[in-house]
């Protein structure tokens, strides 16, 4: 087996050479996963907020369902999206299968429950602190949701990060609906899977190291923003 040192050297070499194929794969990975995260936040955060402040029948069942959906198997999500987008499926006429859009849809479905469930916990804690003051100010439900989302914005960055982490590291769904087509739908994880199956473990490892560094960079950036906010008592 090729050594880790060889893989590291290859990874550094690939980055330093400014390999166009590598850059394309990295950028597509980021575009797909960041877009999916943004969509998941747009949908998941209001759901998390409404469940956090709501007191309704069946709330516990909703909480259990939200938490359970955090563990959605990516291949199952990929398969469902595939069935909907395939030529004979209900959305087949859109022609989205094997496109980055299909990958974004699959990843968004995968991480929306993560964003909703984690934000629900964050917002419920904040609401416990604010609830009486908000009732005293006679806020509407929508005003309450807006205020909670804004005041928890730095904590919610971590929630978004958890979603992005899951999306960018995911391979099962994107390989089914994206197809790992070179120059079209190949992302970091599917490229790693392909190189591994071809036996080019050094290249696979090198891509893995680059993926790890990207994840580390995004985490560090968010952490820096959070620390600044914490110093101002905004987090």
């Amino acid at each position: 087996m090729q050594s880790m040192g060889e893989a590291l050297g290859l990874a550094v070499g690939l980055v330093l050479s400014g390999d166009a194929d590598l850059l394309e794969i990295v950028l597509l990975s980021l575009r797909v996963s960041l877009t999916a995260t943004a969509i998941a936040c747009l949908v998941g955060l209001p759901i998390g907020a409404l469940v956090a402040i709501g007191r309704f029948r069946g709330r516990n069942a909703v909480l259990i369902l939200m938490n359970a959906l955090m563990g959605l198997p990516p291949v199952v999500v990929g398969l469902l999206v595939y069935l909907y987008l395939s030529r004979s499926g209900p959305l087949g006429f859109l022609g989205l299968l094997y496109t980055p859009t299909a990958m974004i849809i699959a990843q968004a479905i995968l991480i929306t429950p993560i964003v909703a469930a984690l934000s629900r916990q964050v917002l419920e804690d904040l609401h416990a602190e604010y609830a009486e003051q908000f009732r005293s100010l006679c806020l509407t439900r929508w005003q309450t949701v807006q205020a909670l989302l804004w005041d928890a914005r730095y904590s919610l960055l971590t929630v978004g990060l958890a979603g992005f982490g899951r999306a960018v590291a995911e391979v099962g769904a994107v390989i089914i609906v994206g197809g790992n087509i070179d120059h079209l739908t190949r992302v970091m994880t599917t490229a790693i899977a392909l190189e591994t199956s071809k036996g080019d473990l050094a290249l696979a490892l090198a891509l893995g190291i680059i993926l790890l560094v990207i994840a580390l960079g995004v985490n560090a950036a968010v952490q820096a923003v959070r620390m600044t906010a914490a110093r101002q008592a905004y987090a």
Partner: protein, 251 residues
């Protein structure tokens, strides 16, 4: 003792007050929390103006009475009428300042903006309100980094931003230094002078002497007495209030 922070009086011109919310009538009010009876048949009448201090030992039910009056929770039994209105119908015409101010994770100015916007008030009043409570110089600072006294003045400014007809205060000066206490009292007195009805919970006998027009003394979930201030302090009518004023421990 350091000087109290300078507060410009009369910085905010408030419209003349309707007294439709008053008198307040409370009849046979009972509140049970987790099977414990916190309020056990409270009867109370408050007139149209002035400052009523609610006093009593810890656990007497003062804070919960305030929340019931503000419509934040329903009573177990009994009736509260603000004029002809139930408390929950007139929450928006009152403001409640909590013992521990709940400030948003925003700047000082943004905390005022929030209240003005929530109630559809004139946003241009923000600077006058901050000036009124002596916090203009801290407008851009994070609200949660304010000192205890500053935080409570901000909470008061936010309450006044909603143009309340009744201002309910739940021990707003507990654990504040004397200068901050006087600053809070000055703001509350100015609101009273403009016609805002004040209902003020306190443990501070000196503060009650300085501010009260009348005193409601709660003991074991009941009104032990409701007396004019100039009677209450020299000649308390109930044993519970007499013991409290003389420092005898009452359980």
């Amino acid at each position: 003792m350091p000087d109290a922070p300078a507060i410009r009086s009369g910085a905010i011109a408030l419209a003349s007050r309707s007294t439709a919310l008053l008198p307040l009538t409370v009849r046979d009010l009972v509140l049970r929390v987790d099977r414990a009876t916190v309020l056990d048949g409270v009867n109370l009448d408050l007139g149209a103006s002035g400052c009523t201090m609610i006093m009593g030992a810890n656990g007497a039910g003062k804070s919960l009475l305030l929340k019931l009056l503000h419509g934040l929770m329903p009573p177990t039994a009994g009736r509260i009428s603000w004029g002809d209105h139930a408390p929950s119908q007139v929450t928006a015409r009152q403001a409640l300042v909590f013992q521990k101010p709940v400030l948003l994770r925003r700047s000082v100015a943004a905390n005022i903006d929030f209240a003005l916007k929530a109630r559809g008030k004139d946003m241009a009043r923000r600077d006058a309100l901050l000036d009124h409570v002596g916090l203009s110089h801290k407008a851009d600072q994070p609200a949660r980094l304010l000192s205890g006294g500053e935080a409570q003045r901000l909470a008061l400014a936010r309450a006044l931003a909603t143009d309340p007809e009744v201002l309910l205060l739940d021990e707003p000066t507990a654990s504040l230094d004397p200068a901050s206490v006087l600053a809070i009292e000055r703001i509350v007195n100015e609101a009273r002078d403009r016609g805002v009805r004040i209902v003020f919970v306190t443990h501070d006998i000196g503060q009650a002497r300085r501010m009260a027009d009348d005193v409601v003394f709660l003991h074991r979930g009941r009104v032990a007495e409701h007396t004019a201030a100039d009677t209450f302090f020299p000649e308390p009518q109930s044993d519970a209030a007499r013991n409290y004023l003389h420092g005898t421990i009452v359980v």
